[in-house]
């Protein structure tokens, strides 16, 4: 049942993607409310899928890849919708909606890896750790979106091209400021995610750190974003370089999320032996 609802969610996200494209291509014909409403509908259906799964398993399960992907894309859309309320960034949605579709789609196509959590580990440490880490990465997904827009806008300006599409994008200054805001929110969340994770590991397995591939990749992105944030604050770094680094960081996180845990089985991939 929850799988079916998850599939419906993916379809609605695909519809949202289509309405965002329509909004970008024919802005004079469409209202910005339509794509936001479709995405919100997808979010509601998605919440239902998660709730159904919760009642089925009786525990906020996030260890299977499918569960993790579904939960992550749900958080990402949720964070975007909150940002949309404050900043009115409908164009950003056209980056988030397809991403949400892709992740939800992969959730039910190749998301079967991972075992159920051994009963002994069913404490609230895991949901806490995962929620914080995922929230951080959800905010980085938004940072990724604005950085992509920044590069496109910048490329057009430098090369003296103009198109109706790019005049819908916010100004470079706005995009750069948003990159900073998302970084400032995402970084502490990611830090807390790593801290709770290692505390939990200490309690269960006796060590804070076990050099799992996921831990290494997280540490690398954490360092990358940390360095970027430091450079922005202390040295006034901004613009294209900041956008590029943000994109690299996010691609590492997402790529590893989708592929890494299946290639290198570990606790993060749902192996608890």
């Amino acid at each position: 049942m929850d799988m079916l609802v998850l599939k419906v969610t993916a379809v609605v996200y695909l519809l949202a993607t289509a309405s965002y494209i329509l909004y970008l291509v024919r802005p004079e014909r469409s209202s910005p409310r339509v794509p936001s409403a479709v995405l919100l509908a997808g979010f509601v259906v998605h919440s239902l899928a998660l709730a159904l799964h919760f009642f089925q398993v009786g525990y906020p399960a996030v260890t299977q890849l499918r569960e993790a992907l579904s939960f992550y894309s749900w958080l990402m859309v949720g964070v975007y919708l909150l940002v949309q309320i404050k900043y009115r960034l409908t164009v950003l949605g056209s980056f988030i909606a397809p991403l949400a579709f892709l992740i939800a789609f992969s959730a039910f196509t190749f998301g079967t890896g991972g075992e159920e959590l051994p009963p002994a580990l069913k404490t609230y440490w895991l949901p806490l750790h995962v929620t914080l880490a995922f929230l951080g990465n959800a905010v980085f997904a938004l940072a990724f979106g604005v950085s992509l827009m920044y590069l496109l806008q910048e490329y057009q300006l430098k090369n003296k091209k103009s198109s109706a599409l790019h005049s819908r994008f916010p100004s470079l200054e706005t995009l750069d400021r948003l990159n900073y805001i998302f970084l400032v929110w995402g970084f502490p969340l990611m830090t807390l995610g790593i801290i709770t994770g290692s505390l939990w590991a200490r309690i269960n397995w006796g060590n804070y750190w076990s050099w799992e591939p996921r831990e290494i990749s997280s540490a690398l992105t954490w360092l990358l974003y940390g360095a970027l944030l430091q450079a922005r604050i202390a040295r006034g770094w901004r613009g294209k370089k900041a956008a590029l680094l943000t994109i690299v960081g996010f691609v590492v996180v997402l790529g590893y999320f989708l592929l890494g845990d299946s290639i290198f089985p570990s606790r993060h991939g749902g192996r608890f032996e």
Binding site: E28, R29, A164, S171, L172, E173
Partner: protein
């Protein structure tokens, strides 16, 4: 029923400004002028438009020929100075031509700068003035409201108003793609060239508050500073102020380049990489093209700006085509409505509607609680209900036929259609 719509007038294309000025209606006397127009026996409804680019009389009349003659004479009274006869400058529209013309005016397709938004507000103003003067009735009321609607459709469904086609508006557009807001930005204007001044003015109109001006001769810089309410800077000092400037507009005739990549690179470091927009309007390059390669620096020269303007202009002609299609569509819609204002079809439709109700109710009753009636009783019931309908309709139809061809008739017909929902199928 009068339903001839005519427009007689002149605009920026048909008449030079001297003629337009002489024909223009004085705002304070507009009410009087409207009443004089309305007093003409050939005119039933009238509106006068008088902006700096156009003077037009829109009227509804029973007979086109007489009305046109009278309106021309009415306009000629305005022009008291001798010269070429006014007739040469006038255009005349009637019927669907007149409706199309008014829709095009409202949608800013007939403006000097196509897409400029002021004309709609002006049109609304003159419509209200006519309403106050009591010179407007059902036909023009509807016509003007439709024209406002057309303007709105054109605005929302086409990109006609959203494209910059002059160098200064392109520069402002670009600045808005780089900067979040212009209110907190500083402009440095180098040189006294005319285009530079235009761009600076346009930037100020779009929010820029802080402006620095420099020129080789300091006296000229002082003059410019006064003209733009900016701060004058000595030419030998301006490099020190560069780091304060977010936008740098160069418009000097200098044969050698003023700024190269080394200087600008250093300025950027001083500004902690905050973006800079250089606009080079010099005949020969004022800024080294290489500075466009520096991160967070954007350089546009006059040719780049012209190219964008030309692209936008091409895009705009596509949008104009779309807008004209909307106008055509709405002209047809308007005439559907106008034709429906005829007496006879309205009476037929009204009878039809009541007859339809009678039949439906008869059928309903005869198949349920009056099922047992004999053929004779049924016949009597038919006659009785038909007679009722005829009695009900008698008074309104006689009154309608007795109405003269004036404003009242259109008003009553329109009201009847609305009350009985005769337009709905």
């Amino acid at each position: 029923m009068y339903r001839q719509i005519i427009i007689v007038g002149l605009n920026h294309r048909t008449a030079p400004v001297e003629v337009r000025e002489r024909v223009a209606f004085d705002g304070s006397l507009l009410g009087d002028s409207l009443r004089r127009l309305h007093a003409l026996s050939s005119i039933k409804e009238g509106v006068i438009l008088s902006t700096c680019n156009r003077v037009e009389v829109v009227a509804a009349a029973p007979e086109e020929g007489v009305a046109l003659r009278d309106v021309k004479a009415f306009l000629a009274e305005q022009e008291s100075v001798r010269g070429r006869p006014l007739e040469e400058h006038l255009y005349i529209y009637s019927g669907d031509g007149a409706v199309r013309h008014l829709f095009r005016v409202a949608a800013s397709l007939d403006s000097m700068v196509v897409g400029e938004p002021q004309i709609l507000g002006q049109l609304k103003g003159y419509y209200s003035a006519a309403q106050e003067a009591g010179t407007i009735g059902t036909v023009l009321h509807r016509l003007f409201h439709r024209s406002f609607f057309v303007a709105k459709r054109v605005r929302t469904e086409t990109g006609i108003a959203s494209r910059a086609v002059s160098i200064s508006s392109v520069a402002v557009d670009l600045a808005k793609r780089i900067f979040d807001r212009l209110e907190d930005k500083t402009v440095l204007l180098i040189g006294a060239g005319k285009t530079g001044g235009l761009v600076a003015r346009h930037l100020q109109r779009n929010g820029v508050r802080s402006l620095m001006v420099t020129n080789r001769t300091f006296e000229r810089a002082l003059e410019l500073a006064e003209q733009f309410r900016g701060s004058p800077i000595r030419f030998e000092d301006y490099p020190h102020y560069l780091s304060l400037a977010d936008l740098v507009v160069g418009c000097t005739g200098s044969p050698e380049m003023l700024l190269g990549p080394e200087t600008v690179g250093a300025v950027l470091r001083e500004r902690k990489q905050r973006a800079m927009f250089f606009i080079d309007l010099g005949d020969r390059r004022n800024f080294d093209p290489a500075i466009n390669q520096i991160d967070n620096v954007y350089l546009y020269n006059i040719d780049d700006l012209k190219n964008v303007a030309v692209e936008n202009l091409q895009g705009r002609s596509r949008e104009i085509h779309k807008a004209e299609e909307i106008v055509d569509e709405e002209v047809i819609n308007f005439f559907h409505w106008l034709e429906s204002l005829e007496q006879v079809p309205t009476i037929v439709a009204l009878r039809g509607r009541l007859e339809q109700i009678r039949r439906r109710e008869m059928e309903k009753s005869l198949s349920t609680n009056l099922k047992g009636l004999s053929e004779k009783e049924r016949q009597a019931l038919e006659e009785m209900t038909s007679a009722m309908i005829n009695k009900i309709l008698h008074a309104p139809i006689t009154r309608l036929k007795g109405l003269s061809e004036d404003q009242e008739e259109a008003l009553y017909i329109d009201a009847l259609k609305k009350l009985f929902g005769l337009d709905e199928k």
